[in-house]
Symmetry: C2
Subunit: 110 residues, 2 copies
DNA sequence: TATCTTTATCGTAATATTGCAATAAGAAAA
DNA sequence: TTTTCTTATTGCAATATTACGATAAAGATA
């Protein structure tokens, strides 16, 4: 097999898993942190920041863009990539919700 | 290749990516939610909750346990699985930190 | 002891991911 | 127009993930 059985889970479960998966690679975490650190958004130099070849970085950017965590604007012949707060917050809120449910539960076990 | 170049990234980047990756599958999100919902922790019936075969569920549980998101206690001949708040909170705090940095930045671009 | 219950592991097949060299595509500059 | 610069795409190889049937391992029960 190798393919996830996404059709058997709820839409939310699939969405959260998709977002988490997109952040499930150190290069993509590094990209996120770089976009956060940098003031101006002329982000062609992400490639120089990462220990990876340009096609590989481009692929990681594409994955982040596919799930909506970043968005890109064409800026001359370069491209300006930015974090899309909406998608990111969706994940953050979900984790906060889980965390507060855990708080209420106050481990009855383990 | 197919293997991530983890040695070129910071320890934190690798840790966060590892945790995010572990949650990057709807079945594992469903497991998390089930553990959160259930009052008692006699959790052998996770298998019945999921649309997956027992070996597959066992594998997903193992992955969550490997990264520390859940922990398991032997309880007779069954096993009691629980969420490990420490590992989970590490991820939550990271996202909150990123989120507050985004807030301060107030998109100068895109 | 023999059997049942529960969970883990093995083996295997299908598919996905990661990475990069080569190359293409597009806009800017000469 | 030709060149240059930046990013995307293609093609491929290596590895990882997902899924499950078969089977093993270990404690509980008869």
């Amino acid at each position: 097999m190798g393919a996830s059985k996404t059709d058997h889970f709820t839409e939310e479960q699939n969405t959260i898993a998709m977002l988490a998966k997109a952040l499930g690679h150190p290069a993509r975490i590094a990209i996120l942190e770089y976009l956060l650190k940098v003031e101006t958004c002329i982000c062609g130099d992400i490639v120089n920041e990462l220990p990876l070849a340009q096609p590989t970085v481009s692929q990681h950017l594409k994955e982040l863009k596919n799930v909506g965590i970043i968005k890109g604007n064409v800026e001359g012949n370069a491209i300006c990539y930015c974090i899309d707060e909406n998608a990111f917050d969706k994940l953050k809120f979900y984790f906060e919700e889980v965390s507060s449910k855990m708080e209420k539960k106050k481990n009855n076990c383990c």
